[in-house]
């Protein structure tokens, strides 16, 4: 789900970085002291989840858990995901620093859908919390790559298709996790 350095055009990088900085700064400012621990823990969870790889034929995909984190944190998920992406880019080269803004937007904005879905009365909401954000993130990634240039269309299609199994896996994970947390009255 990460876009690496050196792929995107400058206008996309600059504009997305500005939007991400504004959002992250705002939500960092309004974050309550009591929520910092929970935000930090889920940021670490998001960070570690990226290292869980699931083989998929010739390639592999990694967990994202953006929907689950969005459901548990709400708007604070933007800050949690941003910090995790920052350290992923710095220490492991996942994504990058110049693409930190766009990666944050692609993953964190759909994570909020997880929050809104969790607060509905839909029957399969626990599954949709995990799967819908992945679908939306994949779509956003597809659109960004297509806007970036025609030469990325094939890659964009392949990435989108590769994330379809991830939607199902993340839906299953979020279902069992949230079901468990509900039983614990979390």
């Amino acid at each position: 789900m990460h876009i690496s350095e050196g792929i995107l055009n400058t206008p996309i990088i600059v504009s997305s970085s500005l939007v991400a900085i504004v959002l992250v700064s705002y939500f960092a400012k309004i974050l309550e002291v009591n929520s910092v621990g929970k935000t930090g823990s889920l940021s670490a969870l998001f960070f570690v989840a990226s290292f869980i790889h699931i083989p998929l034929g010739p390639t592999s995909i990694h967990l994202v858990l953006s929907g689950l984190i969005g459901a548990l944190l709400g708007f604070e998920a933007i800050l949690a995901i941003f910090i995790a992406l920052l350290f992923q880019g710095l220490f492991f080269g996942y994504g990058g620093i110049s693409t930190l803004g766009i990666n944050t937007l692609i993953i964190a904005i759909p994570a909020l859908l997880g929050y809104f879905t969790y607060n509905t009365d839909w029957r399969f909401k626990l599954f949709l919390v995990g799967s819908v954000p992945i679908v939306i993130s994949s779509l956003l990634l597809f659109v960004i790559l297509v806007i970036n240039g025609d030469e990325f269309i094939t890659s964009a299609k392949l990435i989108f298709l590769a994330n379809i199994p991830l939607c199902i896996i993340e839906g299953i994970i979020s279902y069992f996790t949230l079901k468990f947390l509900q039983r614990m009255d979390f």
Binding site: V33, G37, G40, A44, F87, Q88, L90, F92
Partner: protein
């Protein structure tokens, strides 16, 4: 123009390769005709390493282990000369004695510590 074509027709090409601590040299003209009985010299940092003559196939070989670049010069009749620079393959040096998997896990732990550290500092700033 005709003279230039003539020169090109007699251009001497030199190839050098190494396999199993043996240096192989080949000299031939543009139309693949071998440079028969041509003298060759192998030079490394201005020092003569080896010299000899190419055979009837325009080739020669000799046993020599090299770890640094060499220049192979072939001198044919009528002043024709060719040379080539050969750089032996050297495997990249290990930059770390730590196993890559261990290094990655250490990076992972360090990153987690930094994430927690960041939020701890953030909490303290907010608590003021």
């Amino acid at each position: 123009m005709i003279f230039a074509f003539q020169l090109f027709a007699h251009k001497l090409n030199v190839f050098c390769n190494e396999d199993n601590e043996t240096i192989y040299i080949k000299g031939y003209y543009t139309k693949s005709s071998p440079c028969i009985e041509c003298e060759y010299k192998v030079i490394q940092y201005n020092q003569l390493l080896h010299r000899g003559k190419l055979d009837k196939n325009g080739t020669a070989s000799f046993k020599q282990k090299i770890t640094k670049p060499i220049t192979v010069e072939v001198q044919a009749e009528a002043g024709h000369r060719g040379e080539t620079l050969y750089t032996p393959y050297s495997p990249p040096e290990k930059s770390s004695s730590i196993h890559p998997a261990i290094l990655q896990n250490l990076n992972l732990l360090l990153s987690l510590a930094l994430i927690y550290g960041f939020f701890e500092i953030f909490r303290r700033i907010k608590s003021r």
